[in-house]
Amino acid sequence: MIEGFTALYIFMLAAFTGYEVISRVPVILHTPLMSGSNFVHGIVVVGAMVALGHAETGLEMTIGFVAVFLAAGNAVGGYVATVRMLEMFQPKKGD
């Protein structure tokens, strides 16, 4: 179980990690980076799957369905948008 101070420690360390990882990114990559981090929080899809999985009433199932739908959209949309942008930064072949 992740709780109490263990949770707090994880939260703190992850927060510092995020800060450090980003601090050396050049301006030209800011938009792809924002898009990329937007994709990373698409991991919410695994939580949404569990939420819908153990939903019982019709209302819970409806909300759970919306959760999975939105989360999948976040993950896939974020991924495709990021890759499309980054492809433009690839060195041109034969140029």
């Binding site: 980003i22 924002m34 898009s35 009433t57 199932m61 919306v66 499309r84």
Partner: protein, 465 residues
């Protein structure tokens, strides 16, 4: 099976962090996102092995598959089709979807408690409720940001006593959430009002913010969604969500700070006061007059220069002039002219927006310079070509302490020997502030559509043989 899931989540968390790290260089960036994508696909796949997914029968599993497929297809098609110029609003909408998902996860659990299920302990319930608030605000706020950038909402709406209304909604939202979290007793009606309030707050919060400030807002909502995902991760005891969400939360906060800093405005100022409303009052008389130039003459100036610095702004994106600019770069370099691009940190509607568009047109990123690197070079360049940029080259930011943009770092286009400004009309910029650069002695105005005018410049340079 549980062990396998834990291991996969653990590895995913590492890959996400390494992937973001790889995005700090243009060379490894694509590799980073591809690895993160693979990690997320595997994490999603193994989650089907989680007993919690089967807790309520196969109907739910079928619904999960349908929802994933439907969400993926719609997002895939829209992300593939969208024009590069419209990318900011699409990122806003995908981000909003993530926030909505986090809020919906909280909603499922809270509805369960309302229906008589045992409430989790107060700490977890508090985090879940906070995640619901943050996620729902990010959801509706991002939707408004999308509508604004897409041009569906043109005005900055500001009700009388807007701040007071927002504060009241905010307080009511917190009180309701606090009551649910601390008592653990949830009434369905109360829950409904709670979620309606959070969604209204997101709308009301974003409506008065002008389009020029949207980069900061999208960045902020991105960080908020990350935080909401992390909080729901605590609710579901899911380490991958906690770590990935928190990393995005903190990195997004940093990015938001960088953006606001580039505009030299505190974040609170961006969020709580709209630009146009307090500006304008400090207008002083502008000396000099605007001088018009024709494209062939401007082309000659550039063709015989040794160094040309091009300053693109949002107007370039609107006019879709980046491909013509790439062509202009090519013909100028063929004549031995050194061509550099100067990008202001807040040019466009997102940080790095201009860079993406220029890269799309095939302009190498080593030709593109940040503000600090390029400013010393203006005095030694014969021509600065401003296309669709306005406030970021307004020297008033340096000279007039009464101006609303005073103190904002600007590109010193006025210090180039000559300045050519391509502009559609004679109006003021996004902020409504007169641009003194346009009246300067060494500035000449080239009126017309950006794409058409750059096309004429290309033709003009070519005509010189």
């Amino acid at each position: 099976m549980d062990m396998l899931i834990e291991i996969v989540y653990f590895i995913s968390a590492i890959v996400f962090i390494v992937g973001l790290k790889q995005m700090s260089s243009p060379v490894t960036a694509r590799q980073g996102i591809v690895w993160a994508g693979i990690a997320m696909a595997i994490a999603t796949f193994v989650t089907f092995g989680d007993p919690a997914v089967y807790a309520h029968g196969s109907m739910n599993v079928i619904l999960i598959v349908i929802a994933i497929v439907a969400g993926s297809i719609i997002a895939y098609i829209t992300a593939k089709r969208v024009e590069m110029t419209d990318m900011p609003q699409m990122i806003a909408i995908y981000n909003g979807m993530g926030g909505g998902a986090a809020a919906a996860i909280a909603a499922v659990e809270l509805v369960k408690v309302a229906g008589g299920a045992e409430a989790p302990n107060t700490t977890v319930l508090t985090l879940a409720t906070l995640g619901a608030i943050i996620g729902a605000v990010s959801f509706s706020g991002s939707a408004i940001a999308f509508a604004k950038l897409q041009g569906l909402i043109n005005k900055t709406l500001r009700l009388p006593m807007h701040m007071v209304i927002n504060l009241v909604i905010f307080a009511a939202m917190l009180v309701l959430g606090g009551m649910m979290a601390f008592t653990g007793e949830i009434d369905p009606t109360m829950l409904l009002i709670f979620f309606v309030l959070t969604i209204i707050f997101g709308i009301m919060f974003t409506l008065p913010i002008g389009g020029a400030d949207m980069p900061v807002v999208i960045s902020l909502f991105n960080a908020l969604t990350g935080l909401a995902v992390a909080f729901e991760g605590f609710l579901l005891q899911n380490a991958a969500m906690i770590i990935a969400g928190t990393v995005v939360g903190s990195s997004g906060t940093l990015l938001t700070q960088l953006m606001a800093k580039a505009m030299n405005r505190p974040i609170s100022n961006v969020l709580f006061s709209s630009f146009g409303s307090d500006g304008g009052g400090a207008d002083e008389e502008v000396e000099g007059s605007m001088k018009e130039v024709q494209a062939p003459d401007a082309a000659i100036m550039m063709a015989y220069a040794s160094k040309v610095i091009i300053i693109p702004g949002y107007g370039m994106a609107v006019a879709q002039a980046q491909h013509k600019l790439a062509e202009l770069t090519k013909v100028l370099e063929a004549r031995g002219v050194e061509v550099k691009y100067a990008i202001h940190p807040v040019a466009g509607r997102m940080p790095g927006h201009m860079n993406v568009l220029l890269a799309e047109a095939g302009i190498d990123y080593d030709r593109i310079y940040d503000l600090e690197d390029i400013n010393p070079e203006f005095p030694s360049s014969e021509v600065a070509l401003v296309i669709g940029a306005n406030d970021v080259v307004n020297p008033v930011a340096r000279s007039n302490p009464d101006s609303p943009i005073y103190g904002m770092p600007i590109l010193d286009a006025d210090r180039a020997q000559n300045c050519i400004v391509i502009k559609r009309g004679r109006g003021a910029g996004f902020s409504g502030i007169e641009n003194h650069l346009f009246y300067a002695d060494n500035t000449q105005m080239l009126y017309g559509d950006g794409q058409k005018m750059v096309g004429e410049l290309v033709a003009g340079v070519k005509d010189l043989g």
